[in-house]
C-alpha cells in the first residue's frame, strides 16, 4: 500500500481504535455498540440515527443485522468480519444478515472524525485490524444483554449464560431472546473493564467454513455494484482521455458530438501537470448523455487534437536499455550487512542472473465508475472504491467543500486488486458534475481501463550470490532498477522511492550475513500504483527463482537449500508492512507439507518436473508446488498445483481456500500472459484481446489447497496467494526442461528456447 494511502488508513484506524465502547438504541429498537465518535453523531442527530455504528440490530424474529464498515471487493469481508461480531455476541450464524455502512465522517469538537474507524481495504489488513475491535463489539453487546436480563431477574450476571440468541438462567429455568432485552441493554452504561472473550475451544462460528453471505443476491443478479447505481434524473458520462502519457488537449471540436442524439453536454476534464501528483490520471474530454451508449457514441464523434506531452520518445525497449545502463553504475544502497565484496571474493562459486518484470494492468472486471452529484455546497458520491476516505478526499480536492459535506456510499466492488485504492475516477466524476450541474454516472470502457491505470511497476533485477565450498550461501545481493510506484506521490522524498520496490527485511535478510540491496530510479512516464501484493509479486519471483538457480549451480537440492536457510522456529525482525517479525520456519513447515503432497522426491519421466516456492507477504506465509510437463517443442502443460497457506488463526476456512485458489489463478494469469508495453509514449494494449486474462481452460484440473493454522491471531488473505505461483512455475519448467525463465510473462519463451 502506498505511503499516502496507508497514512489515510492509519489516521482512520487510530481514530477508530479508541479502546472503549459506548452503546445506545437504534430507532428500530436495536442495540447499538460502537465508538464515542459514533455517539457524538447519534446525539447530534437527536438520538434518532438508525443504521449507524458497528451496529447490531436485534430483530424480534431472532434475526440479527450486523453492519460492515469495509467495502467488499471479493476478499470476503462481508462474511468474515461479521463472523467475529456474531461469535462473541453469541448468535446463530444462519440468523445473521449484513448491512453495508457508508463512509462514516462526523464533526466533533476536535474536528472531522471517522465514526467507524478505518474503512479502507488494502494491504490485507481488514481481518487483522478487526480481530480485536469487532470481537470487543460483539462481546460488549453480549455483556450488556446479560446485564439487562440479570436486572430483570434481579440476580447477578454471573448466574446467567447465553445460548445463541438467548440469555439463559438455569436456576430460574427462564430465558429471554436478545431482542426482548435490546432496549434495556441500550440504556446500560458500558462497563469500564474490557470484556472477557470466549475461549477459542468454544467457538461456534470462527473457524467454521462459511459461504459468501450474500451469494443469493449475486447469483440472481440482485447484488448492486457501483456501475448499477441508478439515481432519478442522472446522466451518463464517458471520457476520451489523452492517448499520450501526460498529453493535453490542443484543440477540440465538439460540434459533431453534441449533435449525437442524447448528448447533453461536453466538458474538458483537466489532468495534472506533468510530474505533479495524480489527482486524475489524464486530461480528457467528457461527453454527458441520456444513456451510456449515447455517451460512448458522442465520444466517438469528438474531434480532438492532442498536445502529445513529454513522453513521446518512451518505449519498452528504451526502458530496458535504461535499466541496463543504470545497473552498470553503483546505485542507492538501501541495506548493507557485513562485507559483500569480501564474501563474494572468498566464495567458491558465484551465481549471477537477471530477471525482468513488466508493467501489469489491474483489470478489475467492473470498469471504473462513479456517481457524483455536486449540489450547492454538498457532494454525493456512490462508488466502488477500496478507499472511501480517499473518495471523500478526491471530491474535496475538486470542490473545496468541507469534507463532512461530502457523502460516500460504497457499493459492492467488482474487483479491487489495488486499483481502487486510488480515487481518480471519483475526482473525474466530481469535476463533470460540478461543471455540468448534473447528477452523473461516469463509466470507463475497458479500453480506458487498460490504457489508463496505475500499473504495477516494471523493473530489472540483478542477482548475485556467493556460495562456499560447503554449499552455504555467504553473500547475496539484489540490484533493482525499477520505476517506483511512489513516482509523483506527494510527500515522498527521492531517497524513499525505493521503499515501495524493495522491502529491506525480506528473505534472506538476517539470514545471509553479507547482504547488500541496491536500488536504481528508472525514469518513465507510465503511472504506477499498488497491484495486489505490491512489490512481492516481483520480488518473490526473483528471490524464489534465484534460490533455485543457486541450488542447481552448486549441486544442491532446491527444497533442502531453502529448509537450511529458513532454519529453526524463531522470529526475525521485519520492519515493513506485515511485521514486526517474520518467522522463516513457518515457510519450511508449508514447504515440507506441499513437497509431501506433490511427491517432490518421486522419480518422474523425462520432460516432467516439480518446482517449489515460498514467501512471506503482509504477515502471512504461502507456498506453491507446481508440476509441469514440457514437450520436445516447448509445449507447456501444467499438470498439478498444490498451494499451502499459513494465515495464523483461520476465521473462515472456506473464504481462505477461495482466496488461495483465486490468488493461484491470478498468479498464473500474470505469469503466463500479462504485460503492458509502451510505444511512442502510448500504452500499446487496449482490451482483453491483446491483454489476455486466464480462462477456465487454462487452469489445471488439479488445484489443491492446504491451510496450516498457526497461533491465535489471524492475518489477511487478499494478497498472499499470488507471489509464489510464478516462481514455482518457472522452477518446475526448469526441472522439466532445463530452460530457465527469467522474464515474465512466459508467453512463447519456452517454445523459442526449445526450437
Amino acid at each position: 500500500m502506498a505511503a499516502s494511502e496507508r497514512n489515510e488508513c492509519l489516521t482512520e484506524v487510530d481514530l477508530g481504535r479508541r479502546r472503549f465502547l459506548i452503546s445506545g438504541a437504534t430507532a428500530a429498537g436495536g442495540l447499538l455498540v460502537g465508538s464515542p465518535a459514533l455517539h457524538a453523531m447519534a446525539s447530534a442527530a437527536g438520538g434518532g440515527a438508525a443504521k449507524i455504528g458497528h451496529y447490531i440490530e436485534l430483530l424480534p424474529d431472532g434475526d440479527v443485522i450486523i453492519g460492515v464498515a469495509q467495502p467488499e471487493i471479493g476478499q470476503g469481508v462481508r462474511t468474515s468480519l461479521p463472523m467475529l461480531v456474531a461469535e462473541e455476541l453469541d448468535v446463530e450464524w444462519s440468523r445473521v444478515r449484513i448491512e453495508q455502512m457508508p463512509l462514516g465522517i462526523v464533526v466533533t469538537p476536535d474536528g472531522a472524525s471517522w465514526k467507524y474507524g478505518g474503512q479502507g481495504v488494502g494491504g490485507s489488513t481488514s481481518i487483522t485490524d478487526a480481530w480485536p475491535y469487532l470481537r470487543e463489539v460483539g462481546a460488549t453487546a453480549r455483556r450488556l444483554l446479560i446485564q439487562a436480563a440479570a436486572n430483570r431477574w434481579q440476580i447477578e450476571p454471573a448466574q446467567c449464560r447465553t445460548e445463541p440468541g438467548f440469555v439463559v438462567c438455569e436456576s430460574l429455568g427462564q430465558r429471554f431472546g436478545y431482542a426482548e432485552l435490546a432496549a434495556e441493554a441500550a440504556e446500560l452504561p458500558v462497563p469500564e473493564s474490557p470484556p472477557t472473550f470466549k475461549n477459542p475451544a468454544e467457538y461456534r462460528i470462527v473457524g467454521t467454513p462459511q459461504s459468501v453471505i450474500d451469494a443469493r443476491d449475486i447469483v440472481t443478479g440482485k447484488a448492486r455494484y457501483g456501475i448499477d447505481t441508478h439515481v432519478e434524473g442522472m446522466r451518463y458520462a464517458s471520457i476520451e482521455r489523452s492517448p499520450w502519457l501526460d498529453g493535453t488537449v490542443a484543440s477540440l471540436d465538439d460540434s459533431a458530438a453534441r449533435a449525437v442524439p442524447g448528448v447533453v453536454d461536453v466538458v474538458v476534464v483537466e489532468g495534472p501537470e506533468p510530474g505533479a501528483p495524480f489527482h486524475i490520471l489524464a486530461t480528457g474530454v467528457a461527453v454527458v448523455a441520456t444513456s451510456t451508449w449515447a455517451a460512448f457514441k458522442g465520444r466517438e464523434a469528438l474531434e480532438i487534437e492532442w498536445e502529445r506531452g513529454p513522453h513521446t520518445a518512451e518505449s519498452t525497449e528504451g526502458f530496458w536499455a535504461q535499466c541496463r545502463n543504470l545497473l552498470d553504475k553503483p546505485g542507492q544502497v538501501v541495506r548493507n550487512d557485513g562485507d559483500l565484496d569480501a564474501a563474494l571474493g572468498a566464495a567458491a562459486t558465484v551465481v549471477e542472473a537477471r530477471y525482468e518484470l513488466p508493467y501489469v494492468n489491474h483489470a478489475p472486471l467492473e470498469p471504473q465508475n462513479c456517481f457524483a452529484h455536486v449540489s450547492g455546497d454538498r457532494v454525493r458520491i456512490i462508488a466502488p472504491t477500496q478507499m472511501p476516505s480517499g473518495a471523500n478526499r478526491a471530491a474535496h480536492g475538486v470542490t473545496g467543500f468541507p469534507r463532512e459535506n461530502i457523502s460516500v456510499d460504497m457499493t459492492r466492488v467488482g474487483g479491487g486488486f489495488g486499483r481502487r485504492l486510488t480515487n481518480d475516477y471519483v475526482a473525474e466524476a466530481t469535476v463533470i458534475s460540478q461543471k455540468t450541474g448534473l447528477p452523473i454516472q461516469l463509466v470507463w470502457t475497458r479500453e480506458d481501463d487498460v490504457q489508463h491505470d496505475f500499473y504495477r511497476p516494471s523493473g530489472l533485477h540483478e542477482m548475485k550470490a556467493g556460495v562456499d565450498a560447503n554449499g552455504r550461501i555467504t553473500a547475496w545481493t539484489q540490484r533493482l532498477a525499477s520505476a517506483s510506484k511512489y513516482y509523483r506521490r506527494s510527500g515522498v522524498e527521492p531517497d524513499k522511492l525505493f521503499e515501495a520496490e524493495l522491502y529491506v527485511d525480506d528473505f534472506p535478510a538476517g539470514i545471509v550475513e553479507n547482504l547488500r540491496l541496491e536500488w536504481f530510479d528508472v525514469q518513465s512516464g507510465v503511472p504506477r500504483g499498488s497491484w495486489r501484493a505490491p512489490a512481492h509479486t516481483a520480488n518473490a519471483f526473483v528471490l524464489q527463482s534465484f534460490i533455485d538457480e543457486v541450488a542447481h549451480a552448486t549441486g544442491q537440492d532446491p527444497l533442502q537449500l531453502r529448509l537450511d536457510l529458513y532454519g529453526a522456529n524463531r522470529e526475525l525482525p521485519y520492519g515493513q508492512h506485515g511485521g514486526p517479525t517474520f518467522n522463516p520456519w513457518r515457510l519450511s513447515r508449508l514447504l515440507r507439507h506441499i513437497a509431501d503432497e506433490i511427491g517432490y522426491g518421486d522419480t518422474r519421466p523425462a520432460g516432467r518436473g516439480v518446482g517449489l516456492a515460498s514467501h512471506f507477504t503482509f504477515g502471512g506465509y504461502a507456498a506453491h508446488a507446481v508440476e509441469v510437463t514440457v514437450g520436445d517443442r516447448g509445449d507447456l502443460r501444467i499438470d498439478r498445483i498444490v498451494a499451502a497457506v499459513d494465515c495464523g488463526l483461520v476465521v473462515n476456512p472456506r473464504g481462505v481456500e477461495a482466496q488461495l485458489q483465486g490468488g493461484t489463478c491470478d498468479g498464473l494469469s500474470t505469469a503466463l500472459n500479462q504485460q503492458i508495453t509502451v510505444r511512442n509514449g502510448q500504452i500499446v494494449q487496449s482490451n482483453f484481446d491483446d491483454y489476455p486474462l486466464l480462462r477456465l481452460a487454462d487452469v489445471p484440473r488439479t488445484v489443491e489447497t492446504h491451510i496450516l493454522p498457526y497461533g491465535d491471531t489471524p492475518t489477511g488473505m487478499g494478497e498472499i496467494g499470488i507471489p509464489t505461483l510464478a516462481p514455482a512455475l518457472a522452477n518446475a519448467i526448469f526441472a522439466a526442461s532445463g530452460v530457465r525463465i527469467r522474464k515474465l510473462p512466459l508467453l512463447d519463451q519456452l517454445k523459442r528456447a526449445m526450437s
Binding site: 459468501v212 443478479g221 448499477d228 444513456s291 482466496q659 491470478d666 480462462r695 477456465l696 481452460a697
Partner: protein
C-alpha cells in the same frame, strides 16, 4: 422500434437499432444483472440467453433480437422461491468472490447444461469461456458438475 421479450415480458425499444442489447437492458429496462466488462464480446460478463442460447449482449445490436426471446440472470430462476440448478450449485460450491462476472458465468453454464447434461472436463473447458478476474475457476468447474447432478436429481 424493436419489439422483443425479456424474461417473459414484451418490451419495445425506440432508440437506435445499433444500440447493444446490453445497454438497452441496463439503461432502458433497468435490468442491471448483466454486466459491462469489455464491450467486445471477450469477457462474457454481459451473457444472456437469446432464444435459449447464450449470447454476449455487449456485441449484439438490439435490432438483432427483434421478435426474439431474451432471458437475463433476473429471469433465469423459475420463480422467486426456486433457483435454477446452476444458481443453486453456485451457492453450494461458494463460487463468487467479487461476483461481478458470475451472472454471465451462470448464463453460460445454464446454456452448456441444456446442451450437454453431463459435460466432460473438456466440454466444460469449451463451454465456459467467460473471464473471472478473481480466478474462481476451480469452483466454477465444481459448480458446473454439481449443477449437472442437481438437474439429474430433478431439482
Amino acid at each position: 422500434m424493436v419489439s422483443f421479450q425479456v424474461n417473459g415480458n414484451p418490451v419495445t425499444f425506440d432508440g437506435e437499432g445499433d444500440t447493444p442489447l446490453l445497454w438497452v437492458l441496463r439503461d432502458h429496462l433497468h435490468l442491471r444483472g448483466s454486466k459491462f466488462g469489455c464491450g467486445i464480446g471477450q469477457c462474457g460478463a454481459c451473457s444472456v440467453h437469446i432464444d435459449g442460447r447464450v449470447r454476449r449482449s455487449c456485441v449484439t445490436p438490439v435490432s438483432a433480437v427483434s421478435d426474439k426471446t431474451v432471458t437475463t440472470i433476473e429471469g433465469l430462476a423459475p420463480d422467486d422461491e426456486r433457483l435454477h440448478p446452476v444458481q443453486q450449485a453456485w451457492i453450494e460450491e461458494d463460487v463468487p468472490q467479487c461476483g461481478y462476472c458470475q451472472a454471465g458465468q451462470i448464463m453460460a453454464a445454464a446454456d452448456l447444461l441444456s446442451r450437454q447434461p453431463d459435460p466432460s472436463d473438456d466440454d466444460i473447458d469449451a463451454g465456459m469461456t467467460n473471464i473471472c478476474r478473481c480466478g474462481t475457476y476451480v469452483r466454477i468447474r465444481k459448480a458446473v458438475r454439481r449443477a449437472a447432478e442437481l438437474v439429474r436429481e430433478g431439482v
